[in-house]
């Protein structure tokens, strides 16, 4: 599985340093959001009671959202339950299925393994962000035409993974498509159609 979780946070905060700051107590212990903004290593974590929120500024699909979030809230949770963008789906909330995949600065990432605070300063793109008004984007169109899903629950994540792949590799080989899709589980087993959709999406993006 490709690694979809950043090892380096938005401002150069290392994942290791970040985890240190998170793992220091029982309930609701976390570093304040300001820590991330400042981009400092966690040295003196503040203990916050559960329920204490702080301001998080997110750029999502080109728009700015200011939300109050607990430091432990994931990007996935904030997208879905706070902002109301339900394209990204929870499948495992532990970085195994990819149903929650979004683009962070153009790269496919698991939103369940990204804290909302961590996404500050980045451009987040969700499934909804691929739409042009009411019109489907090319990857979405290709998925619809190729019947690249069954229940459709993994689909937003699959689409974002393919979108991420095509942004870095506009003309992927069959093997590159398989690898690009391999971080996203589909229990319905629509993989073959997903491969076809990815191929078609690449063509559509190239204007064919």
């Amino acid at each position: 599985m490709p690694r979809k979780n950043p090892t380096t946070g938005p401002d150069g905060l290392t994942r290791r340093g970040f985890l240190t700051s998170m793992g220091t107590g029982a309930i609701g212990v976390a570093a304040s959001a300001d820590l991330f903004a400042a981009g400092k290593e966690a040295v003196d974590p503040q203990v916050m009671p559960a329920g204490r929120t702080s301001k998080v500024v997110l750029r999502i699909n080109g728009e700015t959202h200011v939300v109050l979030a607990e430091p432990r809230w994931t990007l996935l949770y904030v997208l879905r339950e706070v902002i109301g963008l339900t394209g990204a789906k929870p499948g495992c909330e532990r970085g195994e299925c990819g149903a929650c995949t979004v683009l962070i600065d153009g790269v496919a990432r698991y939103a369940c393994l990204t804290l909302a605070a961590e996404a500050q300063g980045s451009e987040v793109t969700t499934l909804e962000g691929l739409m042009d008004g009411e019109t489907l984007g090319p990857v979405q169109t290709a998925f619809a035409e190729a019947d690249a899903f069954q229940c459709g629950y993994c689909t937003p994540g699959q689409i974002m993974a393919v979108e991420g792949l095509l942004r870095t590799n506009p003309n992927p080989s069959a093997e590159e498509i398989r690898r690009g899709a391999s971080g996203n589980l589909c229990r319905c087993g629509a993989y073959k159609h997903i491969f076809e959709a990815a191929h078609r999406a690449a063509e559509l993006k190239r204007g064919k």
Binding site: P90, E145, F149, C151, G152, Y153, A174, N184, R187
Partner: protein, 775 residues
């Protein structure tokens, strides 16, 4: 926006099937113009744009989030549950446990006795002990962690193979034998005496978990005394009846909605305790509650395909004629009488002609999560044994495996009372045409242990199947409502699990009414607004619902034609419905457009009601299939790669070729999981706990495990006797033979008969090393 209302009909000239006279049933379709084509789904836009609202996506004003505390022990008695700290935690709005008066409810009564909603006697790891609702799921989880439970930990038995041993702790007071069944026809002793070759082998399939991508769960909301539940389910009416029964509410006051759902595979056929728990939390807090299980919970508590321990003894003559089959299976439905052995022996009983058959099934209780129906219950396990045995027999008598199967074709159902005939069986064609499409004989010559050089070995294998059900049956009621502009609303209770049900039904309406599928709005899976349907599952949804949809659409046509006859002052029998217009057969100048019918304008809508008629008497409707695959084994590392598959399935009429193929690929993918990657692992010796309760440690097939080269080969024709659409079920048969075909291919490649799932590098390397040692 484009004017869509102008665009309802197909271009002129595409014929619409004849309309039977009022009161008459429609004939089987001869030719179809919409049905059978490759049509993207009618709800594809919703699913790829993110606008489809799954139960997980439902967000109501003032909504809370629920969480469940589950027993961490495989067997324990709850002495006391202390929720005092939890209820004081920030954001916590409701806490319930077994002693909460409103939550002190009977969940069900079955052969093992009565089970309470929060049962103080926890018989498997993951049984519900308490639940909370809080402002955020994080706070709910915090509160769950703060509940203190005093458990009396009891001895457990987690391995079904030990359940009946003396001294094994009893799961239920009556002991660990849940059920034993025997089936017998002919005389196996005589059958084995008549055989020229007798083989015997033991097989085991590991426990497989459904883990649909959308976790089980719901949103529950009360308006006064009425409850509305948005549930991720295969059957809204099934959930409604259980919830109403447990909460002692009239059915009419429980509305269950399941427009979209993220996969079920059988595990969402029935209601779960979580729905009742969400409703109770919502009542206590007087706020809506969303309760989605965590992924770990879906591994523990919402069903599985039971692990099966099987033996099969088979006798055959040198010419390939089967003389006797004797089969045993010991399996477990976990802590409930949940059908651990159900249908495991069906293929042994019914797939091939064999005069002497005996099967013995022993279903035992264990301290493990209860089984639930899992895509083709019992069949992939039985196929794993039977279809590997058929290959072993073929080898023993020096016959090609396909030929051995062809030698033993069954003309009728031997296992059913009175030996009824099948309405259709394409099994022979599946084998012959599948083998031809695969290039079976050539591939078999060019691969296999004898053709091997070096450590990369190729092999081919195949397996056949039937599915015990798949004919559909009553009841089903469907309403088709045609508006005054000709556009249509289709109302049915059935859920679309992702099999494309809605699209197929829209195609049926489109076929009959000559309108485009896009002009059909579908209302489904809502007990408040749609008609009664049984849960979607068992590959019965299309053959159950499609005939009812067709009947409803035909009734609409009949009514429109009566209106036209009155308007044109002629007799109905003289008229032909052509979609946009109704035209006289004799005088082409006598015609009227549907939307010009005054009676329709006055009435506003025309409603057709369709029912599912009975199945043909004394006949059986079953789908059949055969799958062929080629694999490559690295004999140094034990890695197994599937190179290609050909799947030949007789499921009667293909309703939508695009979604049909998708089902086939999906079934194969799931079968590859059973064959190669999936196995529940319980720490049976020490703690009894499940150790791989996540997708990292319990592997589903990924994009890298599934070949891109899969050919779906539908085997016709439509089954004109089965029902008025000619369709049989597809979703289950496509996963039945897969694992056995893979095992047979591995055997062909390596000479090793792997009788236990999963065929992973660990097992293969070990077996290869053992063989090297033996020399």
């Amino acid at each position: 926006m484009a004017d869509e209302s102008k665009d309802i009909y197909f271009v002129q000239g595409i014929p619409v099937p004849d309309t039977p006279l009022p009161g008459k049933e429609p004939e089987a379709w001869q030719e179809t113009n919409v049905v059978g084509k490759r049509l993207p789904r009618v709800d594809a836009y919703e699913r790829v744009s993110g606008s489809a609202v799954y139960p997980s996506d439902v967000h109501l004003p003032n909504m809370l989030h629920g969480a469940i505390l589950r027993c961490p022990h495989p067997h324990a008695r709850v002495r006391n549950v202390d929720t005092s700290a939890a209820s004081r935690m920030p954001g916590v709005r409701a806490v319930i446990r077994g002693t909460t008066p409103e939550a002190d409810l009977v969940w069900k009564k079955d052969a093992a006795g009565e089970m309470r909603l929060f049962d103080p006697h926890c018989r498997f790891e993951g049984e519900e002990v308490a639940a909370v609702a809080a402002e955020t799921p994080y706070q709910a989880r915090d509160a769950i962690n703060a509940i203190r439970v005093d458990y009396e930990v009891l001895p457990f038995v987690a391995d079904e193979r030990r359940a009946l041993q003396a001294g094994s702790p009893p799961v239920h007071s009556k002991g660990n034998l849940s059920k034993s069944d025997t089936y017998e026809r002919g005389d196996v002793t005589r059958g084995f005496a008549a055989a020229e070759v007798v083989l015997e082998e033991s097989y085991r399939t590991e426990c497989e978990l459904h883990t649909p991508l959308e976790p089980h769960g719901c949103v529950a909301s009360w308006e006064g005394r009425s409850l509305t539940v948005w549930e991720s389910t295969q059957g809204v009416y099934a959930v409604q009846s259980r919830v109403a029964e447990v909460l002692k509410l009239p059915l009419a006051r429980v509305r269950v909605i399941g427009h979209y759902m993220g996969g079920g595979f059988g595990s969402k056929l029935e209601a779960g305790k979580y729905t009742v728990i969400a409703a109770l939390l919502a009542r206590q807090s007087a706020r809506p509650v969303k309760l989605l299980l965590t992924r770990e919970e879906t591994y523990l508590a919402v069903g599985n395909r039971p692990p099966c321990n099987m033996t099969l003894k088979a006798g055959v003559k040198r010419d390939g004629t089967l003389t006797a089959l004797e089969f045993t299976c010991l399996a477990t439905g976990g802590a409930s009488p949940a059908g651990g052995t159900s249908l495991v022996d069906w293929l042994i009983r019914d797939l091939y002609t064999c005069p002497n058959v005996r099967t013995t099934l022993t279903d035992v209780f264990t301290n493990a999560g209860p089984a639930r129906a899992f895509r083709a219950p019992g069949h992939p396990q039985g196929a794993w044994a039977l279809e590997q045995m058929m290959d072993a027999l073929a080898e023993a008598v020096g016959m090609d495996p396909v030929r051995l199967r062809l030698k033993n074709m069954a003309a009728f159902s031997q296992a059913r009372e009175g030996n009824p005939a099948y309405t259709s069986t394409g099994f022979r064609k599946c084998l012959e045409q599948g083998a031809a499409a695969f290039g079976w004989e050539k591939a078999r010559r060019e691969t296999g242990a004898q053709a091997a050089r070096g450590h990369m070995r190729r092999g081919v294998g195949m397996a056949g199947c039937l599915w015990v059900a798949g004919g559909g049956r009553p009841p089903s009621t469907v309403i088709v409502k045609l508006f005054s502009d000709g556009s249509v609303n289709l109302n049915m209770g059935a859920s679309d699990l992702g099999t494309g049900t809605k699209t197929v039904m829209a195609m049926v309406v489109a076929e009959e009414l000559g309108i485009k599928p896009e002009a059909i709005q579908i209302e489904n899976a809502d007990t408040g607004t749609t008609q009664y349907a049984t849960p979607s599952g068992g590959s019965k949804t299309v053959p159950t619902e499609a005939p009812a949809v067709r009947n409803a659409a035909v009734q609409v046509k009949q009514k429109l034609m009566e209106m036209a006859a009155a308007a044109l002052k002629t007799d109905v029998s003289e008229l032909a419905y052509q979609g946009r217009e109704i035209v006289s057969r004799r005088d082409a100048s006598k015609r009227i457009a549907v939307k010009d019918l005054d009676a329709l304008k006055r009435q506003g809508v025309v409603v057709g009601v369709g029912y599912r008629g009975p199945n043909p008497k004394n006949k059986v409707v079953n789908p059949f299939g055969a799958q062929f695959c080629e694999v490559e084994v690295n004999t140094k590392t034990g890695e197994l790669k599937i190179l290609r598959f050909v799947a030949a399935h007789d499921s009667g009429r293909v309703m939508n070729r695009l979604t049909y193929d998708n089902q086939v690929f999906g079934g194969i993918t799931m079968g590859i999981g059973l064959a190669m990657t999936e196995a529940r692992i319980l720490d049976a010796g020490q703690t009894g706990k499940m150790v791989n309760r996540n997708w990292h440690d319990y592997k589903l097939p990924t994009a890298l495990d599934v070949p891109a080269d899969i050919t779906s080969l539908p085997i016709g024709p439509a089954d004109a006797e089965a029902n008025n659409t000619g369709a049989k079920g597809l979703g289950e048969p496509v996963t039945i033979p897969t694992a056995a075909a893979v095992a047979n291919a591995v055997c062909h490649a390596t000479g090793l008969r792997i009788t236990q799932t999963p065929i992973n590098p660990l097992q293969l390397v070990q077996r290869l090393a053992e063989r090297r040692k033996e020399g």
